[in-house]
């Protein structure tokens, strides 16, 4: 095991029972994530990416194998790992401000400090002036911003992100990717990011893990040797980007093609 690993996944398997049958969703997955790293997991639909995240955060237990957080086996929710889900899951009965404060509230941060920190992060993600809006009064892009802000607000060391920009339009997506990279550089948190978009994976990450189609296992882990800071708007057109992207795409598209041939549930 890597000494610096903040999260170590060791031979993890996970089965689900479906219609009386045991179905293997995640098959013997191992990898380490280093402290401060931006690590992305990319793979075709239904390869068990979200299952992996749920196990890392402690909401699910592996059927076999183990996951270590700072050297200790994860045996349930630790409360130290942030989780930005695909759906925004904002509490509709709380205002934007109160949603951002929720994590700190649960963790017992004093009211003054809580309000101060919430205010700062809300401004930082560009939502100043919308503090008292409820969820149904926010657009999809704003909700995604709040979803990220409320996790950053309680300052977890490790943040898991499950396709947080999935349903957004391209422009909003690029803006939020820029924001995310800026925030990550400021906070120096470890980010484990899930996407099915290889472009997004290469643009953001230090390392990209490609998963196979169902049942998901590790196909390869690739170092992304691109300079930082990166400009998410222009980086995909550079030659160095293509040098990283093309071989990875070769690997990923095989998985996607085979997936599409076996069953026609969309990618």
């Amino acid at each position: 095991m890597n000494e610096q690993a903040v999260i170590a996944v060791e031979h993890v398997e996970r089965e689900f029972s479906s219609r009386g049958q045991q179905v293997l969703a995640v098959d013997d997955v191992s990898f380490d994530v280093e402290s401060g790293e931006f690590f992305t997991i990319v793979g075709p639909s239904g390869c068990g990416k979200s299952t992996l995240l749920n196990m890392m955060v402690g909401l699910l237990q592996p059927t076999s194998g183990r996951i270590l957080y700072k050297g200790d086996a994860v045996r349930g929710v630790t409360g130290e790992i942030g989780y930005v889900t695909q759906e925004d899951n904002l509490f509709p009965w709380r205002t934007l401000r109160k949603n951002v404060e929720f994590g700190m509230e649960v963790r017992g941060v004093a009211t003054d400090e809580r309000e101060e920190r919430a205010e700062a992060i809300i401004k930082r993600v560009g939502l100043d002036g919308f503090q008292d809006r409820f969820r149904h009064e926010l657009s999809g892009g704003m909700r995604a911003r709040v979803n990220i802000a409320r996790t950053l607000a309680w300052r977890p060391d490790v943040i898991l992100m499950d396709e947080p920009f999935g349903p957004l339009d391209v422009q909003t997506r690029l803006q939020l990717q820029t924001l995310l990279l800026d925030l990550w550089r400021e906070d120096r948190a470890t980010v484990i990011f899930i996407t099915h978009d290889l472009n997004e994976a290469v643009t953001l990450s230090d390392r990209v893990l490609v998963m196979t189609r169902h049942p998901g296992t590790v196909k390869m882990v690739y170092d992304v040797d691109l300079e930082r800071p990166r400009d998410v708007f222009s980086i995909p057109t550079t030659d160095t980007f293509r040098e990283v992207f093309d071989p990875l795409w070769d690997e990923l598209q095989t998985e996607m093609r085979e997936d599409a041939e076996e069953d026609s549930i969309g990618l």
């Binding site: 909401l59 509709p92 919308f130 409820f134 803006q175 820029t178």
Partner: protein, 285 residues
């Protein structure tokens, strides 16, 4: 650097609220005029046809009802009847609502208990509760207790069932937001489950109001010595249709007043929710 939200989120709802408000208010005003006009037309028609097309002995007429109401008001009897009925209804509503919400919440949270009891709850919910009224008189006597218990029973079932359903409907993803933070069970109940179920609970509380009042009155129909229900029954037995209709009118007004109050309260408590998503709501003006 990051861009601002204003440029990103063009689809954010930022309408010119003044325009909307003025359109709304003129529409609302027109609606209310039509409502009043309809009510007035019905009353005028009734007044003019009574005694001509049909006997006003059996069907009374608005002017006679107004006269009767005025008399019972000046004699103090109306106030005392309303007070007696309302006391039973309000006390019963209070007991029933507290018990219904608390039990509905607790049973729904104890998932296994909820599963075991579910068919029984559905069965009991299906019985015509008003049929229990005579039994309640036998159990609790002809005094106010039996009326309180009847109103409590009605309220209990409606609030219990709504709370039970609301808590059962909760989105696990929202609970996970708190679980990931290692929140305790009590924190999750207080900060996630309760607010998430609140539209259902409040809908139950609102629906129960007319039922509580009707329950108290039905109790008075069956056996009592005072109250609105007693007065209506007495009038009917004396073929005093005017008195009966006057009593019914008072009940109608009482239910409307309580509904209006709870509507306001609901709008305030659920201001975070677009009105179209409210369970059992959105029917009131």
């Amino acid at each position: 650097m990051s861009s601002t939200a204003e440029t990103t989120d063009r689809d954010a709802p930022t309408p010119d609220e003044n325009v909307i408000k003025s359109v709304l208010s003129s529409d609302t005003a027109r609606l209310w005029w039509w409502r009043l006009a309809f009510g007035a037309a019905v009353l005028v028609f009734w007044e003019l046809t009574s005694g001509r097309l049909y006997s006003s002995f059996w069907f009374s007429k608005p002017s006679a009802i107004a006269q009767s109401l005025y008399e019972s008001f000046t004699s103090g009897q109306l106030i005392s009847d309303v007070a007696i009925t309302l006391r039973a209804a309000v006390l019963g509503y209070g007991f029933g609502a507290v018990l219904g919400v608390v039990l509905g919440f607790v049973i729904a949270e104890l998932r296994t208990v909820a599963k075991v009891l579910n068919p029984y709850i559905l069965a009991v919910y299906g019985i015509p509760r008003i049929a229990l009224a005579p039994l309640f008189i036998v159990w609790f006597g002809i005094g106010i207790t039996s009326k309180i218990m009847l109103a409590a029973l009605m309220t209990f079932f409606l609030t219990f069932f709504n709370t039970f359903t609301g808590v059962g409907q909760i989105d696990d993803d929202l609970v996970n937001v708190a679980r990931v933070l290692d929140a305790g069970r009590l924190t999750i109940l207080r900060k996630v489950v309760l607010p998430a179920a609140s539209p259902w609970i409040i809908a139950g509380l609102r629906i129960a109001i007319p039922y509580a009042i009707v329950a108290a009155i039905v109790g008075e129909f069956i056996a009592s010595t005072a109250g609105l229900g007693f007065r209506i029954m007495q009038s009917t037995q004396l073929f005093n249709t005017t008195g009966t209709l006057a009593g019914i009118l008072v009940i109608m007004v009482l239910v409307m007043i309580f509904n209006l109050i709870l509507d306001r309260l609901e709008s305030y408590l659920l201001r975070w929710q677009p009105s179209s998503e409210r369970p059992g709501g959105g029917t009131q003006s």
